[in-house]
Amino acid sequence: MSGTREGGWYPLMLSADLEPGTVAGSTVLGRDLAVRRDREGQAHVWDDRCPHRGMRLSLGFVREGALACLYHGWRFGADGRCVHIPAHPDLSPPGTIRAAPLRVAECHGLVWASVEEDGPLPEVDAVAWVPVRSLRIEAPWQDVARAVGVPDGHRAAVLDRDVEGRVLAALLPVREGACMLHLLAAASAGVERLHDLADWGQDVRARAEERAGQVFLAGVVA
């Protein structure tokens, strides 16, 4: 994977999907991450393991500017250090109790995390991008990348698939055989165009999953 131009940077989610004061989960190549945005708007990415007993931090919630673990309420500040242990409210926790932070960047309307060795962030035209949506696709990311026209070796690209305006597509490999496809449109797009792009994303998902032999059809079940 390190052969890609983007180095170790992976597009986790649309910036718009991470509201201030919330935490969300994300998975990159099978590695679970907790992604949160503090009230000041800054995004933080940590391994999704509480230093206390290893429970998932992404299930927690933000309290007094810190991320609180759902299980025993330990709280972790911006740098990942533990700031509060409810069972010992008067104790100031030692600095060694610390969630493992990753490097984070936000650009082109996406939250990126540096998971492997550092490298340059993908270069994309610095126009304003508006979020369309993200889709989970049960198919290999390379196959989806090829299908939408992202050049080999890239995880994000501006597509020149049609004349109606530019589209930014970014792919997150979740695990083998599963990825997220993030779609954004050039800011000039109207609402109709955004709906069309969202529909197109669903179409991409259906075709890729059909190639991968994965079909998810709702219906009345017994």
Binding site: E19, A24, R133, S134, G219, V221
Partner: protein
């Protein structure tokens, strides 16, 4: 309105739909506990006399018994246009999602029961695919809604459709689906959680 009575199983998500709606409406019901697991009380002659098909929950409202979550939600929403719009087109959209909640979305409830009580793991099965397919229909709808600035399934505010659909999304982790695959659902779950009067059930964390 005469006394409300709810025949209710604390662990059942259909009963939770009605408890949640009652709480959002600021209404109190006298609760009669029905012991489904392990008691199997829904099949007892006593309960069948109340609910002939064994459906839970049962709501007694204005002296009438309504069996099943869909019916009970409708009975409670009746005459409250903010929860059940009167204009036919908006009413039709709510009806569409209520039907979905009582139909294809049942796959998620069956998956959850199979995982919690039947020892089913995370292997692929027709039922799991149908359940994922149903969640995706909700995800796709909300992704489109958001493009026009909408937060809720129908219209500008929460309706009884949101309440009928909510538990399936909020409880999907119980059968192995992660919120990270459903960003639009995740945002909407947060919005529902933020409604005044929101209550949880076992399996839906309470942030206290």
């Amino acid at each position: 309105m005469s006394e409300l009575v709810l025949h209710d199983d604390e662990l059942d998500e259909d009963c939770y739909r009605v408890r949640l709606f009652l709480s959002l409406l600021g209404l109190e019901a006298r609760r009669v506990a029905v012991d489904v697991v392990p008691g199997g009380e829904q099949d007892s002659p006593g309960f069948r006399a109340v609910s002939p098909a064994g459906l839970l929950p049962v709501l007694r409202i204005d002296g009438q018994m309504v069996c099943g979550a869909g019916g009970a939600l409708l009975a409670l929403a009746h005459g409250r246009p903010e929860w059940l719009p009167e204009a036919r087109a908006a009413f039709a959209r709510v009806a569409h999602w209520l039907q979905f909640a009582g139909g294809p979305l049942r796959a998620t409830l069956l998956m959850r029961r199979a995982c919690l009580f039947g020892g089913v793991g995370d292997e692929q099965s027709a039922r799991r695919r149908a359940a994922v397919g149903a969640l995706r229909i909700m995800e796709d709808h909300l992704a489109h809604r958001r493009l026009e600035g909408g937060t809720w399934f129908v219209g500008d505010g929460p309706t009884v459709a949101d309440i009928a659909l909510f538990p399936a999304a909020a409880l999907c982790r119980d059968w192995g689906e992660e919120y990270s695959a459903y960003p639009a659902l995740r945002r909407w779950v947060r919005a529902v959680r933020g409604l005044p009067g929101f209550v949880t059930m076992p399996g839906i964390p309470d942030y206290g």
